[in-house]
Symmetry: C2
Subunit: 421 residues, 2 copies
């Protein structure tokens, strides 16, 4: 039976106020002890793409992939990135990742993933199967060979990154996959031949086999009933989806609260977590509504404007509040940090091309690392060795007697820390 | 593997030129014998709704269902109907068929089905499950009870009409079924709870159990990828669909050859027959393109115009030629004969409200019962008792020595007739 959770603007489903019990090395409660509690990461994934950091992590000059890449100021960008976000999406577009058959870009991406992991950032891979950015060498292969190498590439890459990248967009934009006409490619041919659900099964089977602990997403931009129909077919077919990925590139305007909640209501009724995988809000002119494929509109100049920046700051906060209010949403990934190298050249970044933060950056930081964040708070344990913790679910650290002891704030378990020595 | 058949404007897939062997009562060929061969029905279904004839078959005054019903001149309308069409769709809208629980309109519909069958017309029922025109008494029932009575109604009606009605729209418009918001109804609630594919399985399982010989359709107006996704899910789930029903109410304008062929290409790749279940072309002003639900536009006056009638006649012939050119199409049902009582009050009939045929009627009759029809043709058998037959697949009669002997022209078998006595 399908039912949708009810949104709760108070965000009571995100947070908890609960006593933390502080124990000494011998396991007995420590009364009247000064303890500082500070959050270190949200359980909720506040994500952004980490494409810009590939160059930084590899000590290269920046700039220049088809899907974004800042050219300069990478160290400063990295600080801005880490000031808000805790989950990075890395690019595994097959055609860019393995332009020459048998020579995948594994080492560079591994270094990038490690760069993020070293900074406490979770890493996600995007995407394992898609009909766009395909390697040219796929075009000449017969269909059964396309299927074989697609399966092999999934197994290889998921295995190579297991432990560092444990969340994947297993397959991207399947609704249009078999009817995609903007460029010949092997994947559309295969999808047209075997059908959408067989393509999804292929992606999930191979990724699951290579990393059974991975969180695997079906991801799409199509918010219509088509995606619902596809999901229902996949579930009926017994393919295990770990989360439903919903894109929301709002180049043609902010959805608004009503539409956002309507979308969440429709897609939450399958009982699966929702990941808002690709979120864009512009700080300049909107794309005309008659554009169907966003890629068809790329003006030579698309500036960020003061009015646009004020609007974007308002909308990004409203959007994040709406998404957070829905219990099914577990992740929001913004699609880019800076306008420098932004997808489509659009002013969708939270940082201007010159590296200065837009109002939306500050607003989002104030929300995610301010209002929704538990900064260091010092207090004294009571007679039973307890201090109150009040914050969003996530990772925390208690500091006492010069030692940092991590703990996790979760929906049900009772939090406790014990001095190691 | 999914592949789409290729259209053939020569219609070679519809017809055959082949010798008919004529045998005497003793089974030996009859040479030098005069034989007249005439077609009696197409194998291809040229359909129309038969709603107007419910009143005629039941000796009632005409007029007045929500989905069409002419008020007058029923005998003349019947002649016009039979002058082109060979397959009738009858209304089984649950709310109209069983407005009072336990008192279905079975007898009236049985008489109507028999009226058509007596005139050589195949009869189809529409629809067994739909979220519109629901009985009011369903609204107060709990969901499990809604499901139970829906199942029972399918079994009852399919069984009651087996032998007379062996083709059914098992379920209608599933793409929007769980998200339909234009009026509370039990079926949308059920579909939202159990999902689209479970609804489809329910409909097909019950109808199949009640009449294993029935041709069962999934029918929809949504020609987008949503319907493709739904079909692929249903096929993966192992539900046996006998034909895919495609509506084409073109109140907002003729699709044209290109779009029509594109739709046929996409939906033919599942290897299933396509039935064009609901076809409308207007002979007056078009409905504005911004109207989303056709039911939302019902002007007080919507006249048929001379220019509109000329356009409609042109379009109806082009549309039927395009559909006939595609090997997957096995059936075209036009949605109404006369503007009198036409759905939405639209001038979509082939006959004016005053009972006179529009140019589209004459054009369609000239096509279906003229160019595509084999009228009586007299010839003499050769030395081996053969005459040539050249026509569309279907039912024929050979008349010789004062006797009528029926035979069938089929794609492969060799036609033969034998004098009974």
């Amino acid at each position: 039976m399908h039912t949708s959770p009810t949104p709760d603007p108070s965000l009571s489903h995100r947070r908890r106020r609960v006593p933390l019990t502080v124990l000494g090395t011998d396991g007995s409660p420590l009364p009247d002890t000064e303890v500082t509690v500070a959050q270190t990461r949200h359980a909720f994934a506040f994500g952004n793409i980490g494409f810009d950091m590939v160059a930084l992590a590899n000590d290269e000059a920046g700039g220049g992939s088809a899907f974004g890449g800042a050219a300069a100021g990478l160290e400063e960008l990295a600080d801005l990135w880490l000031g808000v976000f805790d989950t990075a999406t890395l690019p595994f577009y097959w055609g860019a990742f393995e332009p020459q058959r048998g020579r995948p870009d594994t080492e560079r991406l591994l270094r990038t993933a490690r760069w993020f992991a070293d900074r406490g950032v979770r890493v996600k891979g995007h995407p394992l199967v898609w009909h766009t950015v395909q390697p040219d060498w796929l075009l000449d292969l017969p269909l059964d060979e396309v299927e074989r190498v697609q399966r092999e590439r999934i197994r290889r890459d998921v295995a190579d990154f297991a432990g560092l990248v444990d969340t994947w967009d297993a397959i991207n934009e399947v609704v249009i996959m078999p009817v995609f006409v903007n460029g010949d490619n092997g994947i559309t041919r295969l999808a047209r031949s075997v059908g959408r659900i067989a393509m999804i099964r292929l992606a999930f089977d191979e990724a699951r086999a290579a990393n059974p602990r991975a969180t695997l997403l079906l991801n799409d931009f199509d918010m219509s009933t088509a995606y619902e129909c596809l999901i229902e077919g996949v579930l009926e077919a017994g393919v295990q989806i770990d989360a439903i990925g919903l894109q929301s590139h709002m180049h043609q305007g902010y959805w608004g609260e009503e539409r956002t909640l309507e979308v969440l209501d429709r897609f939450s009724r399958y009982g699966l977590p929702l990941h808002m995988t690709e979120t864009t809000l512009l700080s300049g002119d909107l794309m005309p509504p008659e554009i169907d494929d966003l890629n068809d509109f790329q003006p030579t100049s698309w500036p960020s404007t003061p009015e646009g920046e004020a609007r974007q700051a308002d909308e990004v906060v409203r959007h994040y509040r709406t998404l957070a209010s829905h219990p099914s949403v577990e992740s929001i990934t913004y699609w880019g940090l800076t306008d420098d190298g932004m997808w489509l050249g659009a002013p969708g970044g939270l940082v201007r091309a010159d590296g200065t933060p837009k109002p939306a950056y500050d607003a989002l930081r104030d929300l995610v690392r301010g209002e929704w964040w538990s900064g260091p708070r010092a207090s004294c344990t009571d007679a039973e060795g307890r201090v109150e913790v009040d914050g969003w679910f996530g990772d925390y650290v208690a500091t006492l007697r010069g030692q940092d002891v991590p703990f996790r704030l979760e929906p049900t378990s009772t939090p406790m820390v014990r001095l190691p020595h």
